[in-house]
Amino acid sequence: MKDKLPSKTSANTRKEETLKLLQELAINIYNKMDKGLFPDIVFPSRSVGNLIYDKKMQQYILGPNSVKRSSQNIKHIRPFTNIIWLAFFVNKLLRQGKTSTLRDVYYSGQAFNIVFKDQPESDDIIVDLETVFSRPRESFSIYPEERSAIFGDMTIEYTVPGYEGKRLNLSSHPDGYLIGPSLSTAEMIETSAEMVIAVEKGGLFTRFVEEKVHEKYKAIIVDTAGQPPRSTRFMLKRLNQEMNLPVYILTDGDVYGEHIAMVIVSGSANAAHLRDLTVPTAKWIGVWGSDIVKYKLPGIPLTEHDYKRIHELKKDPRYVKGRWRKELDVFLTIKKKSELEAFAKYGLTTIVDKYLPDKLEQAKSF
């Protein structure tokens, strides 16, 4: 059994930090208003021109340009008020230990005379607040609707109200556990696992549980359900950092699958204002374009969309060299893509018995 590493960012500490930041912002604005000044907030600009790829951090970050949102400006005062309300609102959420979905936020404003035109407007304000504090919305108790799942031998301890101190082993239920607010805020206590395998699809996740991948390979299995939501990426990050587990990613053999892996490794451009969502050491072990050839997998011809996406990604600085670039080029050469399920051609268990060990072995060398 591997014990939890001393963590500087346990769930409770993070919450305390967030509350303090919110209060500091409020005091600052309060003082300005009290002095008869129009308050404002300054935060990094998220415009495309201010998006920079940081090679060292291996992720997109925001550049030096910033946005000043001033309550004196008639164009700004509404979004300004909206951010302040959101800070006020999430402060209440955090203190009461409650969570909210993006949709909830959209409606919640109305009780305070904050009327959002539509949900995209309230979603934007949430991203603004993330940018102001460089923290993901999950740290403000705001969660998206989509959920992904986790399974494997790890004990966690809840911090959500009513469950504080209660422990759970994540291998207790064969369908896995939703990575929701309570799991995201839970402390990681101990695990016997030696790696994390993130798979793109629920079907394969179930197969892995059935085939006892968690036992055979001492793995925690995560279903990313397509492009992983931030809470899942944050969970992967914590498993990697707090529990010191290597992360392996298994996706469909196409350009979208490759990019799912890339987002886990180095984040998305949409979250350039956030840190702690990337696992730079995570490894994409398949399905590669070259695997389609090597394992003679049934292929599907690339569509117009696929070609377009491949050429887009070739312009992304993260795809200029190495395995990432090579596999894009392979897709272009073989003009085919393949799915994880394609291994069923060789029997349902081949992917677990043959392909997975092959790839894990191969992963040691890159």
């Binding site: 008869g36 600009s45 000043k68 979004p79 300004f80």
Partner: protein, 550 residues
């Protein structure tokens, strides 16, 4: 092979217009009813104005047979009555019974150009209903004469059916009643619009109109001042042609060419006459009657080429003037704001003209968008707007954005051109040709008026802007104050009320140098008017917000 006999026959002017009535605006029953009404109303207004009498005009259009529910087109009785000077009974048969017999066939600013409209209306009535016209006229000497007559179209001469002397008790005026085939159902909206627009440029007239449905329209006099009546002027050398010169020579009684020149032409004195004839290579002592045809042609040519004639004097013209025009517009359009621009006199081809433009904004009656009301010699021009020079200008040459006028802004452009000869493109008097001189003056007048409107709009905009800003501050600042008080844990609200009292907003807001994110671009709600107006930091706080926030 049969040899075809070609026959030549003379046709009279009446006959000519009978055959070409489309030219004069009598192409169908609806248009004819409209044209007859306006021609007769215009004659009445001209008559009153020439003797500076405040016009009282009565007009009625009544279906001839009301017995059965006959549908349009059908016969209507059109009656127009004025309080003008009246017509001498000796002239009446010819004034109304012969095409081209008008009093207007000379150089003077008038609504009608050839004295043709009135007779055309009678002619049209006769050829469609075969009924006589009734004319009653009193010149103020206590008697009136009543004529019933028809026209001999071939001979271009009146046929008097009845002539009657009746007492008139010292009043003067003319009443004319014709029966014609018309289509009031179709013409109604144009005719009503005609009266409304006429009322705009003649606010000193009382006009009563009773229409075929029995509705009464009363356009009331709102001012007693009338424009100074136009004066007859001599022709300017630049505006003469060979035929006109030949007639002038025929009527002339002078014995030397030099004298003929300065007696006949506008802006030609003895000096100019002498210099010009030197230029033309003609002796000023020769008898004008002895000029050969070739000499007449070369003289006209020289008259046109000689550049040292003074420009035609516009004092013979009668512009409406700012006060009267605005009184009319105020009465009929009730705009929120209007501004008038009157151009100095100008001339084209020897004909003086003056352009007056009024731009009206907002109010109860102006529809959204641009409305153009065109007038020439105080006649409303209602047809063929798209071919008119003013239309071309407002569509092509005016940069509306520059004047902060949006497509939906309610704007009325009222243009008036007065001249001894209005450059109509057709006999129908509906639209003005794009003479470069005229186009330039119209353009300048419209632009000048729009510049003044722009100032008004921007003032209005900034006042509205201040109010709006205050409302917005008043809505959001208390919310912000409440949220931060709760969040910071203080137990009383910050003293934000100072912010609502600041009188800073008059100044133009200054562009802050921060970027605008997509998010801010989406917040368009208040951006329309504040496009160029961003906040100015009133107290000149020097700190950038970045320092402030760190």
């Amino acid at each position: 092979m049969v040899k075809r006999q070609v026959t030549f026959a003379e046709i009279s002017p009446s006959e000519f217009f009978y055959r070409n009535r489309d030219l004069a605006g009598f192409s169908n029953p609806s248009r004819a009813l409209y044209s007859a009404t306006r021609e007769l109303v215009e004659n009445s207004l001209d008559a009153c104005e020439q003797v500076s009498v405040l016009p009282d005009i009565f007009v009625s259009i009544i279906p001839k047979e009301i017995i059965n529910e006959e549908s349009d087109p059908r016969a209507y009785t059109l009656k127009i009555q004025d309080n003008g000077p009246g017509v001498d009974p000796d002239f009446i048969p010819y004034a109304f019974g012969r095409v081209f017999y008008g009093s207007k066939f000379k150089l003077i600013q008038a609504r009608g150009m050839f004295g043709m409209g009135g007779t055309m209306s009678i002619l049209y009535g006769q050829i469609t209903t075969n009924r006589p016209v009734t004319i009653v006229s009193a010149t103020g000497d206590g008697t009136a004469y009543k004529f019933e007559m028809m026209l001999d179209i071939r001979q271009n001469a009146p046929i008097i059916l009845k002539k009657e002397k009746i007492p008139a008790e010292g009043i003067s005026g003319t009443s004319i009643e014709i029966t014609l085939q018309g289509d009031y159902f179709r013409a109604a909206s144009k005719i009503q619009e005609y009266f409304r627009q006429t009322a705009i440029v003649t606010p000193y007239a009382n006009i009563v109109f009773i229409d075929a449905f029995g509705r009464h329209f009363f356009y009331e006099r709102v001012t007693k001042s009338m424009p100074v009546p136009p004066r007859v002027t001599r022709p300017h050398p630049h505006g003469i042609d060979v035929e006109a010169l030949r007639r002038l020579l025929e009527d002339n009684s002078e014995t030397t060419l030099g004298k003929f020149m300065f007696k006949t032409f506008h802006r030609v004195g003895e000096n100019t006459s002498r210099k010009f004839l030197e230029y033309a290579g003609l002796k000023d002592t020769i008898n004008p009657k002895s000029l050969t045809n070739l000499q007449i042609v070369s003289l006209v040519d020289a008259l046109h080429r000689y550049n040292d004639f003074l420009k035609p004097d516009a004092s013979c013209l009668s512009p409406i003037g700012k006060e009267i025009l605005e009184a009319g517009i105020k009465k009929e359009i009730q705009p929120e704001y209007m501004v008038t621009s009157i151009r100095p006199p100008s001339a084209y081809s020897g004909f003086p003209f003056i352009v007056e433009v009024c731009v009206a904004y907002g109010g109860k009656f102006l529809p959204s968008g641009l409305s153009l009301l065109r007038f020439a010699n105080r006649i409303p021009l209602l047809y063929d707007e798209g071919s008119d020079v003013s239309w071309k200008i407002i569509q092509q040459d005016i940069d509306w954005k520059y004047y902060n006028i949006r497509p939906e802004t309610p704007i009325g452009i009222i243009t008036h051109v007065c001249s001894t000869k209005v450059p109509y493109k057709t006999v129908g008097k509906e639209y003005l040709a794009d003479r470069p001189e005229l186009e330039r003056e119209l353009k300048n007048a419209i632009r000048d008026a729009l510049r003044q409107l722009k100032i008004y709009l921007s003032r209005k905009g900034s006042i509205a802007m201040v109010e709006r800003k205050m409302n917005i501050y008043g809505k959001y600042l208390p919310l912000i104050a409440n949220f931060v008080t709760d969040l910071s844990g203080f137990n009383k609200l910050p003293n934000y009320h100072i912010l609502l009292k600041n009188k800073i907003i008059d100044q133009d807001d200054q562009e802050d140098d921060s970027e605008v994110t997509e998010n801010e671009i989406k917040v368009k709600e208040y951006s329309d008017l504040s496009e160029n107006n961003k906040e100015v930091n009133k107290k000149g706080e020097g700190q950038t917000a970045i320092e402030d926030f760190s």
